[in-house]
């Protein structure tokens, strides 16, 4: 028996049974049959054609007009059948694209991989989750020869593939910076020139660069239009915005960046983030920066890594598991 005959046989049996009993169990069998025919790429017009053949066999005395009406229904279904087959093709294409992007994601992760530096006096946590498969957020840690922890965090305006391609450029540019001069304003000025030269004018990049010196306990930083982070003072038990002024990268090649500094006491925290954290949308409304602070407070007793992960989990759920922007959150806490 050919596959078509087998399906038709099954369809006939189940349909005849249903016409007699109108029983739910038969409909469940019907649903399973329907799933099977979908899996075997049987088109909706094929179903209607089978329906007509079968009903003619079950009831040889079926009125002519019913058969004509089914012929008409079949004609109507032809366009649906086409859309259906287009769907199969599109799904294959999508699968192909998906595996292509997966490879690109690997290339990107290889390129951008960074590890949290081990410094005994600070606890550092970092999480970065792309909204789509490829990220337009970038973060990077370097512990330099003086023992300072350098942290870069950047966000390409735009998401997905083009943003990821820009991000790779930032990485090449960062790599080619001389190791010896890593003070924040110099780093941003240098990157700004490279971005201005190489990136097409429709793309903008915001960036924050900071250096923590575990001996002087100074945190020095500069920002190129980046979403401000927070400074948490343990003594006052209070969060402050980590304000810093500066134009986004790639607009004006001669821009200068101001450098700021803050003294960090024991148990103080530096919170760095991208706008994907602060611009979480819940039911079409943005959450407030104060909501982020509340969440950080809620999990502040945890280690820095557990803390950033807990905040992410809550925000992910609040957004119904659909990120609208790349999400990067870094927390640095002075221990002693």
């Amino acid at each position: 028996m050919s596959f078509h005959e087998e399906m038709k046989h099954l369809y006939k049996e189940i349909l005849a049974n249903y016409i007699q009993t109108q029983n739910e169990q038969v409909l469940y069998q019907g649903q399973k049959l329907s799933r099977k025919s979908l899996e075997n790429e049987i088109s909706p017009e094929d179903i209607v054609s089978m329906h007509k053949e079968v009903i003619e066999e079950i009831y040889p005395d079926i009125p002519e007009r019913v058969l004509h009406s089914l012929d008409f229904l079949l004609e109507i279904m032809i366009s649906y059948g086409l859309a259906h087959r287009e769907h199969q093709a599109l799904k294959n294409k999508q699968r192909e694209l998906k595996s292509e992007i997966e490879i690109a994601v690997n290339v990107q992760q290889n390129l951008l991989s960074t590890s949290v530096p081990a410094v005994s006096s600070v606890d550092i946590g970092a999480i970065s989750v792309p909204a789509k498969q490829m990220s337009g957020d970038y973060y990077h840690f370097v512990k330099d020869e003086n023992g300072c922890v350098n942290i870069a965090i950047a966000d390409v305006i735009g998401k997905g593939i083009p943003a990821a391609m820009c991000m790779s450029m930032i990485k090449y540019a960062m790599d080619s910076l001389p190791d010896s001069r890593k003070n924040p304003s110099y780093v941003l000025e240098n990157l700004n020139r490279i971005v201005e030269q190489n990136v097409d004018p429709s793309m903008f990049i915001t960036m924050f660069y900071g250096t923590y010196d575990p001996f002087s306990h100074l945190f020095q930083y500069a920002s190129a239009g980046h979403e401000p982070g927070f400074y948490y003072s343990a003594e006052e038990d209070k969060f402050y915005d980590l304000e810093a002024k500066g134009l986004v990268l790639g607009i004006d090649r001669n821009v200068k960046y101001s450098q700021y500094e803050t003294a960090i006491s024991s148990q103080d925290m530096i919170v760095l983030l991208t706008d994907g954290v602060t611009e979480c949308r819940v039911d079409e409304e943005f959450i407030e920066r104060t909501d982020i602070i509340k969440l950080i407070r809620k999990y502040m007793h945890l280690s820095a890594q557990e803390l950033v992960e807990a905040v992410y989990k809550e925000l992910e759920k609040l957004q119904d598991f659909q990120l609208r922007d790349d999400f990067t959150l870094i927390i640095l806490k002075r221990l002693v």
Binding site: E24, L27, Y28, Q94, F321
Partner: protein, 133 residues
């Protein structure tokens, strides 16, 4: 108190019982044929998930009323292994007609509202609502 009724899902026959319950309630509420079929398919899918992946659990059907609208609420809960990556399970285009049936994105499409809560090692609860138009 509002109407609520549950079916325990242990064997495949229980899937049919859950479907029957859903169809009766949706008919009572005055849903049209197509919506009845959609609700029943959603229930079927949820019950089948429990049967296949959690081993056992239950499907409850509730008539609800909110802000003047009435509707049907399905609550499917189990104490199975739970879902580690909900974002992935809710992703589209890789289950339907790939052999696994409509999957959760399908259930979400068949209904008007959809909510999922899952803890790995503890279980999963899914709530889905269809409103009467």
């Amino acid at each position: 108190m509002q109407f609520q009724s549950c079916v325990k899902i242990v064997t495949e026959w229980d899937i049919v019982a859950a479907r029957q319950l859903g169809r009766n309630v949706s008919k009572e509420l005055g849903f049209g044929t197509v919506d009845q079929a959609r609700i029943t398919t959603a229930i079927s899918e949820l019950a089948r998930n429990i049967y296949l992946y959690a081993g056992k659990g239950k499907v409850c059907i509730e008539k609800i009323n909110r802000m003047g609208k009435s509707g049907l609420l399905i609550v499917a809960s189990d104490e199975g292994p739970g879902i580690a990556d909900i974002r992935k399970v809710m992703e589209d285009g890789y289950t339907t007609s790939g052999g696994l049936g409509a999957g959760l994105p399908g259930v979400k499409r068949l209904m008007d509202e959809f909510e999922i809560e899952s803890v790995v090692g503890e279980g999963t609860e899914i709530k889905a609502i269809k409103w009467l138009r």
